[in-house]
Symmetry: C2
Subunit: 126 residues, 2 copies
């Protein structure tokens, strides 16, 4: 379900959080779907239950999951995370744009990057 990258400098719980989020927003997991239990996912990833717990807690905080004690974690309705997700993406992009803009990259240069990256997506679909 998930593959962890131990060369990545980011903490494990952050990787788990991000990958699960992508499975949800990408539609691989649908609203109402039950998530694997904290313990079982920890076993799958060869990771401590606390680490998975931390990821689940973050995902619930951000509206992607709804937790029911004793039952499990369930993917939330789209309306609960859609807006926040879109906003987070834009904020993330803008922060880097401000950084590279201050670093001297021209608006044209930035547009080039956008074009290249989204052309790349086109190739992936074919």
């Amino acid at each position: 379900m998930i593959i962890l990258d131990y060369r990545d400098k980011r903490p494990l719980y952050e990787q788990v959080t991000e990958k699960l989020m992508l499975l949800i927003t990408g539609g691989a997991l649908s609203p109402g779907d039950r998530m694997p239990s904290v313990r079982s996912l920890a076993l799958d990833l060869s990771v401590n239950p606390n680490t998975v717990q931390r990821a689940y807690a973050q995902l619930e905080q951000d509206g992607y999951l709804t937790t029911i004690t004793g039952r499990g974690n369930y993917v939330s309705e789209k309306k609960l995370w859609q807006a926040g997700h879109e906003n987070a993406l834009r904020t993330q992009l803008k922060e880097v744009l401000e950084k590279v803009r201050d670093g001297g990259l021209s608006e044209e240069g930035a547009r080039d990057c956008v074009r290249e990256v989204y052309e790349e997506q086109g190739r992936m679909r074919s």
Copy 2:
């Protein structure tokens, strides 16, 4: 000369490296200019000399500084870092673009962000 942000999660040496780099690429420091000594900058920033040394070493590695043992660190000629700098900015931007693209942000959404951020720059100039 530099103000450190202790709320920033990134290590100090990384902040110092980035800020000095911006002073160089931004033209506040010109090729040939002598940098403050490792010890004096460390005093200025209330930071350990090792931390400054690490920043200087990174800047030399990336071509922004030329080090002469016993004399000091000097801002390198533009040709030594110009290309690498431009490339680093593009790579940095592209990595985030791929991330938000995979997260579901449309190409139009990305273009909006570019427009907004560079409009912001226009306002700063006035």
